[in-house]
C-alpha cells in the first residue's frame, strides 16, 4: 500500500493533504518541549512533540518508513494538549500525533487487533459493561488480585506488568447505567430539558458521579434525559488510530440525542466532553456531518452548564474542607473550562488551595497508565508532590480517568486524601440540606 492509499483509508480523500499542510506549519522552535511531561521525563527529542511531528512529516513525505519503532514512539504521547497550547504557529500537535497513530494502525496488525476488539465492545454500552465484566470477575473475585498483593506476584512478572495492579481501580459491583432512569424530572419548576451523556468510566467505576450529576441538574430545574443506549464517545478508538469507529460513534450519538430533543448535552467526563465536541474535526466524510455539528455544539461540561444557568447555592456547612483542584487536560485545555469547577467548590464552602502546576497532566491519560506504566508513574510523582504540598484533604477533578490515576497516587503515598468529582461534593451539600430541613 502506498502512503496515499493508507491516508485515504485512514482519513478520507483529502485527509493526507490536510495533514501535510498542517505539518509544514511547524517551525521547529521547540517551545512545545518546555511543557511536554514526557520530554521532561525522558530528555530525548525522540520523545517530544517536535520529534513526533518531525517523524510523522518524514513518514507522510515518504522519507522514512512507518517502522514498528515509529508506531511505538507516537503512542508515548499523553494527548495532554500542553504542546498545542503553547505552539506559536498554532499547529494542532496533539491531533497530528493521533493522526500518525491512525496511519500506523493501517499497517500494523497488533494495533488493528486491539482496535477491532475495542470496536466490538464499544458499539453498545451494555457490551462495554459486559466487556469489563470478565476483567472484574477474573481480577477482583477470582483472587488474582490477592494473589498479586499477598504473594508479590507483581514483582516477578516481566515488562513491569506487576505495576499494572495499582492502576486497576475498584470496579463498582453494579453498573451505574442501571440506576438512572430514562427521564429524571426537574425539582420544582422545569426550566431546561437536557440530555446526560454517561461515560463508560463513570458507569463502571464511579456510579456516584453519574448519580450526582443527574441529581444536581434536577435540583437546578433541569429535566434530564439519560439515553441508556449511548455509544462510547470514541476516544479509546481514536487513541488507537481507528477513526472509522470514532465516526460511527459520532453518528450514533448525534442521532440518539437529536431524538431526545434537548437544549444541551451534559457530560461529566472531561475526555468524553472534549471528544464529543471535537467530532466535526475527526477526518473523513460522514453523511450526517450537519447533525454531528449540531450535536457537538450542544455538548457542555456539567460545571460550565451549571455556571451558565446560575447554579443554586446550597446552605454552606460550617467548616469547609480544604480542597485542591486538578485541571484535567481535556477539560482545561480541551474545553477551556477552568474557572467553573473551582466556583463549584467555593459554592459548597470548600477552602480552595491551588496546587503548583494544576494543569500538568497526571499521567492517567485513558489507559496510558496501563500501557506505559513507567512513564505514567514518573508523571504522576510530580503531580503527587504538588498535591502533597497543598495539605488538602480532598483532590477534586472533573475526569474519571484522572480520578483513577490520582487514587492510585494517593494509595502509593499512603495519604488520607479523598479524590472526587466536584459535582459529587455539590450533590452531597444539597443532600445535607434536605436532611436538615
Amino acid at each position: 500500500m502506498t502512503i496515499e492509499q493508507i491516508g485515504k483509508r485512514a482519513f478520507g480523500s483529502d485527509g493526507l493533504e490536510r495533514i501535510r499542510e498542517e505539518l509544514i506549519g511547524c517551525m521547529r522552535c521547540g517551545f512545545c518541549l518546555s511543557v511536554c511531561p514526557i520530554y521532561s521525563e525522558t530528555g530525548t527529542e525522540t520523545n517530544s512533540p517536535r520529534g513526533w511531528l518531525a517523524l510523522t512529516k518524514a513518514v507522510v513525505e515518504e522519507r522514512h518508513p512507518a517502522t514498528r519503532n515509529f508506531a511505538h514512539l507516537v503512542t508515548n504521547c499523553l494527548s495532554c494538549k500542553a504542546c498545542t497550547s503553547v505552539c506559536p504557529p498554532g499547529v494542532p500537535i496533539d491531533d497530528l500525533i493521533l493522526a500518525a497513530r491512525a496511519l500506523t494502525a493501517q499497517s500494523r496488525r497488533g494495533l488493528a487487533v486491539k482496535a477491532a476488539l475495542l470496536r466490538l465492545a464499544m458499539g453498545h454500552p451494555a457490551r462495554m459493561d459486559r466487556a469489563l465484566m470478565p476483567v472484574r470477575l477474573l481480577y477482583q473475585r477470582s483472587g488474582l488480585q490477592s494473589l498479586f498483593r499477598r504473594w508479590g506476584l507483581g514483582k516477578v512478572l516481566p515488562f513491569g506488568a506487576g505495576r499494572l495492579d495499582q492502576f486497576i481501580p475498584a470496579f463498582a459491583r453494579r453498573s451505574g447505567r442501571k440506576g438512572i432512569p430514562y427521564l429524571t424530572p426537574a425539582q420544582g419548576e422545569r426550566k431546561h430539558r437536557v440530555g446526560y451523556f454517561q461515560s463508560c468510566m463513570d458507569a463502571a467505576v464511579f456510579p456516584e458521579s453519574a448519580r450526582a450529576t443527574v441529581a444536581v441538574l434536577a435540583a437546578n430545574g433541569c429535566e434530564v434525559v439519560t439515553p441508556p443506549a449511548t455509544a462510547c464517545c470514541g476516544m479509546p478508538s481514536r487513541a488507537l488510530g481507528d477513526l472509522r469507529t470514532v465516526r460511527e460513534c459520532a453518528s450514533w450519538n448525534a442521532a440518539l440525542f437529536e431524538k431526545a430533543v434537548v437544549d444541551a448535552v451534559i457530560v461529566d467526563c472531561a475526555t468524553c466532553g472534549s471528544m464529543l465536541r471535537e467530532y466535526p474535526g475527526v477526518m473523513g466524510t460522514e453523511p450526517s456531518q450537519a447533525q454531528i455539528e449540531a450535536f457537538s455544539r450542544r455538548v457542555v461540561d456539567v460545571s460550565a452548564f451549571l455556571s451558565q444557568i446560575g447554579c443554586r447555592e446550597p446552605e454552606r456547612p460550617k467548616d469547609g474542607i480544604r480542597v485542591t483542584y486538578h485541571d484535567p487536560c481535556h477539560l482545561g485545555r480541551g474545553q477551556g473550562v477552568t474557572e467553573e469547577p473551582r466556583r463549584m467548590l467555593e459554592l459548597v464552602g470548600a477552602e480552595l488551595v491551588e496546587m503548583a502546576e494544576s494543569d500538568l497532566c497526571c499521567g492517567g491519560a485513558g489507559s496510558y497508565n496501563v500501557t506505559h506504566p513507567e512513564l505514567s508513574l514518573a508523571v504522576l510523582e510530580r503531580k503527587m508532590a504538588n498535591i502533597k504540598s497543598t495539605g488538602a484533604s480532598v483532590v477534586a477533578t472533573g475526569c474519571p480517568a484522572c480520578q483513577i490515576q490520582l487514587q492510585a497516587g494517593v494509595k502509593r503515598h499512603g495519604l488520607s486524601v479523598g479524590v472526587v468529582h466536584p459535582v459529587v461534593l455539590l450533590a452531597q451539600a444539597y443532600a445535607l440540606e434536605r436532611q436538615r430541613s
Binding site: 509544514i24 517551525m27 517551545f31 518541549l33 530528555g43 515518504e62 518508513p65 519503532n69 515509529f70
Partner: protein
C-alpha cells in the same frame, strides 16, 4: 518504502562502526547512545528553516569525564562532534549537516550551587534558562539574559551562542554574566577558566573567547554565572506612531534623557497587523510603528524614570501613548511584544527570523531600509525587536515550497545584511553565524580577521572535529564521510542549506 518498515529495521542500519559504538556505550551507558533511525531523524534539525542533516549517532554524557572520554575517542577516529543544547537555535549551530556525533547535555542539567554572598550560580550546561530564572528569583536574585526561546533553551546553548534578549539593553548579554567555565578540549583535556572572582586579568581571557564560539572550540561542562539583585519594580509604556522615524527618534530621546530602559522594543506595521489579527489586544492597525518601553529598578528610581518617560512620550510624535498603572497592566501592554513571533509565524508557512544589529542611532534607518527591501524584493517582512540596542528581527514571511519566492527571500536577506553592514553594524546580534550566515562572514570581516579566527580554531581544535562546518565556509573537504547522510534517510529533503 512504507511497507518495508520493520524489515529494514531488523536488517540493521549501521552508521558508525559497531566497535566504536560499543566503546561509546561502555563510556556513557547503554541508554545514553541513541542510534535508531528515528533518533537520527529527530536530532538533525534546530529552529533554523531549510537547514538539516542526519547524525551518525547521538550521545548523552552524564559528567565531564564522559564528555572527555567520548571526545578522545572521536578525535582518534576523526569523527565530528556537534554539541547541542535544546535545538532551539536560529543559525543552524547544532545541526549535523555532514553527519557526525551529536552530543547533548540532557543528562547534565543540575543547578549545582546558588551563592547568595558572592551572588553566583554554578550550573551544568543542560539547565533550561527559564528554570534558572525561576530558581534565582525565589532568592530575590536575577539573571537578566532572556532570549525568546528561554522556556526551552539551555544555558549551555546560550553560552555557545552568547544569547541576548530584550533586557540586554540595560543589563548586557550572556557573556557579561559568565564568570567561569569548565570546558573539554577535543583531545579530552579539561580546561578550568575563571570562577567566582569578579575581577580576573590573569593571561588571555579564554573564558570570554569560548562564550559565543558556537561549540567550535571546546565543549562546556560547567558554568559559573554572575547574578544581580532582582529589580524591585517596573513601569511600562506603549506608544503608537504614524511614522517609523518618529518612533526611532523617540527611542533616541529616551536614551538622550540619560535613562536606560530595561527594554525598548519596536514593532513595525506588518508586525502590528499580524499581532492584532492574532491576539486582538486593541492595537491600532493604522499605526506605522509601536514602541514598548520598560523601566525597572528600585521603587523611587523607577518613579523618577517613569516621569521622564511620560514627558518624552508627551513631547514625542506619538499620537497615542499609554502608561501601565500596575504590573498587571504592564503585562497586558507587553503582550503585544510577546505575541509577535506567534503572530508572524501564523501568517505564512515559513518564517525566517534574522538578527542584524546596528548602532542605536541607526536603528530607525535600518527599519526604513528593511521596509524598502521588502517592497523591492516583493517579500513580506515583519520587523520587530530591540530598538534600544539596535538589534532588529526582520522576519521574512514565505513558503519554503515555493522556490521562486525563496530566491527572492534570499536576495532580501543579502540586501538586509548589506544595509546593516553599511551602517556600521553586524550580520548577527544574538543568533550566531552557524550554517545560516557563514557565507556572509567574509562581507563583515577582512581576510586577515578571518585568518586570525581560523588560527584560533586550529589552536583549540587542530583536527577540526568540533562542529567543523560552522561559522566558516569549509576550506577543504571534510575528512569524515558520514554513512548516515549518504544513507537512505536523506531522500527528497528540501533545502539542505540556507545559503
Amino acid at each position: 518504502m512504507f511497507r518495508g518498515g520493520s524489515k529494514t529495521l531488523r536488517g540493521g542500519f549501521e552508521t558508525l562502526k559497531g566497535s566504536l559504538k560499543r566503546e561509546m556505550r561502555a563510556i556513557v551507558g547503554e541508554r545514553n547512545l541513541l542510534d535508531s533511525r528515528e533518533d537520527l531523524l529527530v536530532y538533525g534539525y534546530d529552529a533554523t528553516p531549510r537547514v538539516g542533516g542526519v547524525p551518525d549517532a547521538i550521545v548523552l554524557p552524564r559528567c565531564r569525564e564522559e564528555v572527555a572520554a567520548v571526545l578522545r575517542l572521536a578525535s582518534q577516529e576523526g569523527l565530528p562532534v556537534i554539541p547541542r543544547g535544546a535545538g532551539s537555535g536560529l543559525s543552524g549551530g547544532s545541526v549535523p549537516d555532514k553527519g557526525g556525533l551529536v552530543m547533548t547535555w540532557a543528562r547534565m542539567a543540575r543547578i549545582l550551587e546558588l551563592d547568595t554572598v558572592n551572588l553566583t550560580a554554578i550550573i551544568e550546561p543542560g539547565v533550561v534558562t527559564a528554570d534558572l530564572h525561576k530558581e534565582v528569583e525565589k532568592l530575590g536574585l536575577y539573571y537578566p539574559p532572556d532570549p525568546g526561546s528561554m522556556s526551552v533553551s539551555t544555558l549551555g546553548g546560550n553560552v555557545g551562542e552568547n544569547a541576548g534578549g530584550p533586557h540586554c539593553l540595560k543589563y548586557g548579554v550572556t557573556r557579561d554574566y559568565v564568570l567561569g567555565l569548565e570546558a573539554v578540549l577535543p583531545d579530552g583535556e579539561i580546561l578550568e577558566l575563571g570562577g567566582k572572582v569578579m575581577k580576573n586579568v590573569a593571561g588571555y581571557d579564554l573564558c570570554r573567547l569560548l562564550v559565543g564560539s558556537e561549540g567550535t572550540l571546546a565543549v562546556v561542562t560547567k558554568v559559573w554565572l554572575r547574578l544581580i539583585p532582582k529589580p524591585e519594580t517596573k513601569r511600562t509604556m506603549l506608544l503608537h506612531f504614524r511614522d517609523v522615524v518618529e518612533a526611532a527618534e523617540t527611542g533616541r530621546a529616551i536614551l538622550e534623557a540619560r535613562t536606560i530602559p530595561s527594554a525598548l522594543e519596536i514593532l513595525d506595521k506588518t508586525t502590528i497587523r499580524c499581532v492584532e489579527q492574532y491576539a486582538r489586544i486593541g492595537l491600532d492597525t493604522g499605526a506605522e510603528a509601536i514602541l514598548l518601553v520598560e523601566v525597572d529598578g528600585a521603587r523611587e528610581g523607577v518613579q523618577r524614570e517613569a516621569s521622564i518617560l511620560e514627558q518624552v512620550g508627551r513631547t514625542s510624535g506619538a499620537y497615542d501613548f499609554r502608561v501601565a498603572r500596575d504590573e498587571k497592566e504592564a503585562e497586558e501592554l507587553f503582550a503585544a511584544r510577546r505575541s509577535a513571533l506567534a503572530a508572524l509565524s501564523r501568517a505564512r508557512p515559513t518564517t525566517i527570523l534574522e538578527d542584524v544589529t546596528v548602532p542605536r542611532s541607526e536603528a530607525g534607518n535600518l527599519v526604513k531600509a528593511i521596509q524598502e527591501i521588502s517592497k523591492s524584493c516583493g517579500v513580506r517582512i515583519g520587523t520587530f525587536g530591540h530598538l534600544g540596542d539596535g538589534n532588529l528581527h526582520p522576519t521574512l514571511l514565505v513558503d519554503e515550497r515555493n522556490e521562486e519566492e525563496m530566491s527572492r527571500a534570499q536576495a532580501a536577506r543579502e540586501q538586509i545584511f548589506a544595509a546593516a553592514l553599511g551602517m556600521g553594524g553586524t550580520i548577527s546580534g544574538e543568533h550566531g553565524i552557524g550554517l545560516a550566515k557563514r557565507a556572509y562572514l567574509g562581507k563583515q570581516f577582512s581576510p586577515q580577521v578571518l585568518q586570525t579566527m581560523r588560527r584560533v580554531k586550529a589552536a583549540f581544535d587542530p583536527n577540526s572535529i568540533l562542529n567543523p562546518t560552522k561559522i566558516f565556509e569549509p576550506s577543504g573537504d571534510l575528512k569524515w564521510e558520514s554513512r548516515a547522510s549518504s544513507g537512505p534517510l536523506v531522500g527528497p529533503h528540501k533545502g539542505k542549506s540556507a545559503e
